[in-house]
């Protein structure tokens, strides 16, 4: 049993390389998705139907088709139209486009949730519409939706596992290849699962710290601020109380 784990860990550098690629392409896709989401949200709130319509079509088409299919289109179909993307490029484009549609709706909701009085007041203070948006509406909108946006980042990291279908050597695909070679199914996918957990938790932690530093008043921490030890202690105390009552 122990020997199996050490044998499976012989491929450690390969796993690490794959996890690094997963992180890099997820972050690239996230940046693309944020840009698309912000543009999309603005376009969906536009006064002009000609601007609103394409954004609505984008959101509905992307949200209502499977992301795996979108990856196949980006990688296998686009060459027929003269656009040849490498597996990693196609993967970033497909993931970014997909999550961009969800972020469009998230950002739109965030902007809508900013009270109207805020922009009216800033216009009264003679700020231009652009500066009103940039300095008054956007920071509050981002603050509203920050946890939901970070959620989408986690979705991208997990969704990148589908890219193995277009031969991107990311973490899941690499684990499948290693598994077919050493056949240590539990060990190989166990290692991959742990790496995903480390990756997503690290990213969420960094995002949480950024969120706390960037917003004023600061965001409430996403989890109750209680150490594991304190949590166990209070659980134990509750148990004792229940026993006493019984």
């Amino acid at each position: 049993m122990f020997a199996d784990w050490t044998y499976a860990l012989q491929d450690w550098p390969t796993y690490l390389g794959a996890a690094w690629l997963t992180l890099k392409l997820s972050l690239a896709a996230f940046v693309l998705a944020c840009a698309l989401g912000l543009l999309g949200a603005l376009a969906r709130r536009s006064r002009h139907a000609l601007v609103r319509a394409p954004a609505a079509v984008y959101v509905e088409v992307i949200r209502n088709t499977p992301v795996l299919l979108q990856m196949f289109v980006a990688y296998f179909a686009l060459p027929s139209a003269g656009l040849r993307l490498s597996p990693v490029q196609a993967g970033i484009a497909a993931l970014g486009l997909n999550v961009g549609a969800y972020l469009t709706e998230i950002f739109r909701a965030g902007i809508q949730a900013v009270p109207r009085g805020q922009s009216e007041a800033s216009r009264v203070l003679a700020l231009s519409p652009f500066r009103t948006f940039l300095h008054v509406v956007l920071p509050q909108a981002l603050r509203n939706v920050y946890p939901a946006v970070i959620n989408q980042l986690v979705q991208i990291i997990l969704g990148s596992s589908l890219l193995s279908a277009i031969s991107v050597p990311e973490l899941t695909g690499t684990a499948m290849v290693i598994n077919s070679r050493n056949l240590l199914t539990i060990q190989v996918f166990g290692i991959a699962a742990v790496l995903y957990l480390v990756l997503t938790n690290a990213v969420v932690l960094v995002a949480e710290l950024i969120g706390r530093a960037a917003f004023k008043p600061p965001l409430r921490p996403m989890r109750p601020r209680q150490s594991v030890l304190a949590g166990l202690r209070s659980a134990a105390r509750r148990l004792v109380l229940i026993r006493k009552e019984a």
Partner: protein
């Protein structure tokens, strides 16, 4: 006194014979062979994205050479067949977790794989060749330096290419069909796969061609079963011999484009 000891000896040896015959009998009861005949269904994993060995017809029913082999096997057992679609990478996990009774999916025998599963005698042989666009200058492993080469995850081909030309850039796909698509769409410069499969693909699409050189020596493909079940393996081998000598295999081969080790 002597007579007593002789009869005691006979009694103990009789006992020993009884208990030793108990084990094989109970093992035979536990054999997949018994389970299949009792349940009336033979579960076979085949790769249905690998024509002419496995694919689906217009009614979405499994078809192909490997599917026909599985059907013939079930017929000989007098049971129904249930084909389970699988991929190259999932053949061994399917057997190790007892999801299927046998794997009939172009399963090349290797010593490495035989550590995890048991193989029958080979029922088909193949070479591994390259498929490229007709306009391509690639003719052998030497020409693959710096070129993108599509293979399937869990097949023997990725390692064979790396060994033959370390400068080749390997892309690993889930199915052979996806690898063919990558070559057709110019996402890969070449792919390596079973010669029977690639000849069939090149026949379907005139923009593709197959190289003459085999990338690896001849490969022997066999039926894979779980380890530790000699009765089941023994039945499959006995049946395979009948399947070949009776001309059933040859008849299937003539109707398809595959080639059996005994008809070559």
């Amino acid at each position: 006194m002597a007579a007593i000891s002789v009869s005691a000896l006979a009694a103990t040896s009789l006992l020993a014979a009884c208990s030793s015959s108990q084990n094989p009998a109970s093992r035979a009861q536990d054999s997949t062979l018994q389970k299949v005949t009792r349940s009336g269904t033979l579960r076979v994993a085949s790769c249905l994205t690998f024509p002419p060995f496995g694919s689906t017809d217009k009614a979405n029913k499994p078809q192909g050479f490997d599917v026909d082999v599985a059907k013939a096997m079930a017929k000989a057992l007098g049971v129904k067949v249930k084909i389970v679609d699988t991929t190259s990478a999932n053949r061994i996990p399917n057997l190790r977790t007892h999801k299927v009774d046998a794997v009939v999916c172009n399963f090349t025998t290797t010593a490495e794989r035989a550590k995890q599963v048991a193989f029958s005698d080979p029922y088909i042989v193949a070479g591994e060749v390259l498929m490229v666009k007709k306009s391509s200058a690639i003719a052998s492993l030497k020409d693959l330096s710096g070129k993108k080469v599509a293979v399937t995850k869990g097949s023997t081909n990725g390692a064979a290419v790396k060994e033959g030309n370390p400068k080749a850039r390997i892309q690993e796909y889930d199915t052979s069909a996806a690898a063919v698509l990558a070559v057709k769409q110019g996402q890969a410069d070449a792919m390596v796969e079973d010669s029977n499969f690639l000849n069939y693909q090149a026949k379907l699409d005139p923009s593709l061609k197959v190289t003459k050189d085999s990338v690896v020596p001849l490969e022997y493909n066999a039926i894979g079963v779980g380890q530790g079940d000699p009765d089941w393996l023994q039945w499959i081998n006995t049946w395979l011999r009948e399947f070949n000598t009776s001309g059933q295999s040859a008849a299937l081969t003539r109707s398809g484009s595959a080639s059996s080790p005994y008809t070559r």
